[in-house]
Symmetry: C2
Subunit: 235 residues, 2 copies
Amino acid sequence: MSHTPPRVLAFDVFGTVADWHTSVAQDIAQRIPGIDGAAFARDWRAGYKPAMARVASGELGWTRIDDLHRMILNDLLPRYDLADMPEAERRDLNRVWHRLAVWPDVARGLARLRSRFICTTLSNGNIGLLTKQARHAGIQWDCVLSAEVFGKYKPDPATYLGVADIFDVPAHQVMMVAAHQSDLDSAAALGLQTAYIERVNEFGADQPKDVSGNQANSFHAVGFNDLADQLGCTR
Amino acid sequence: MSHTPPRVLAFDVFGTVADWHTSVAQDIAQRIPGIDGAAFARDWRAGYKPAMARVASGELGWTRIDDLHRMILNDLLPRYDLADMPEAERRDLNRVWHRLAVWPDVARGLARLRSRFICTTLSNGNIGLLTKQARHAGIQWDCVLSAEVFGKYKPDPATYLGVADIFDVPAHQVMMVAAHQSDLDSAAALGLQTAYIERVNEFGADQPKDVSGNQANSFHAVGFNDLADQLGCTR
């Protein structure tokens, strides 16, 4: 497959940039001695797609991820015998998604990629969350785009095509960068280029995930520095 | 007046961050020997508010600043005997707004302000323009917010209040930073804090503007480093 170089890289964030599993598991484990933090993190995250589906179906009006995270958390706490967690602590715990660490290759790899390409988020996370998470992790985007800008959650075409529209380029000059093949498949179906990033420990080191990706992706990289190498960015 | 510190600084861009006059005047002067670049830049900019007013009134549907700039340019060129400028050059000239230099205090002052506050644009410029301009000038935002996100141009309240909403803070925890008193007045009426920035040469050194601002502003600064000093940012 030959590619004209993209002009814009659009990054998925949860899992691709940010190691949500480690950050959430550690946060809850520090609060609640003896809790299975890894399981709690996975259970919280597991509520994410069903919650967005309720928005996409119209059952819920437009609802930010911050608020969806909180709804999922409220349902989850009783299952961990934490139904009595006070409101202030729930609120602080919910903001753990603003404090996610990034994978070790991200800070340098992203800086290298930004030297050649416009690098924007394209996440279902809300703008405030994404902005605060980047500040917390010490990383830098050219632009923070979110489902919130388009009023639709990925995989709605309005999100992928919205990036091309905002930067006034054809879809094939945008490359979606994600650790999730389904996200890339949705982007590719609309003509975007795709880069698969291996995040074998996205769900924790005890539950390694399949990172074979799809051979049809424009690029396949073990991390952001590998992607930067493949795209010819200076070291 | 005593102030609780803001959490978010929202920056006007054209004139406040970017020295549009110098950049536009130089660009056209390099293309067209003998043209009065300073006047051309001012005439182009003078079409900006009337063009946005056509959008606000509903006469035009939502139209990006890139496209409004181009409409104004098309009207302007014949007045400078440049009606025969070819399409490709018009397109490139129109993108001068993506290549605006910033005032000398901006790069360092903004970095200092970002060390304590979330710093976002709040400009009528479109997201693509603002993103490319920041890359061109080598400056860094936490987030690029634009009228384009809200579907309304400043001074529509949806823009100012939209920043507070996105960052989930009350209006008084957002501070509008601008070199234009009218922008600050609109923000203050909605409860935002305000910082007036002196840009005496916004319209060119030959046409210094009144930079007295209004005493009711929360802050009044000669530039971004002065504002950073007043806000207690480390040097």
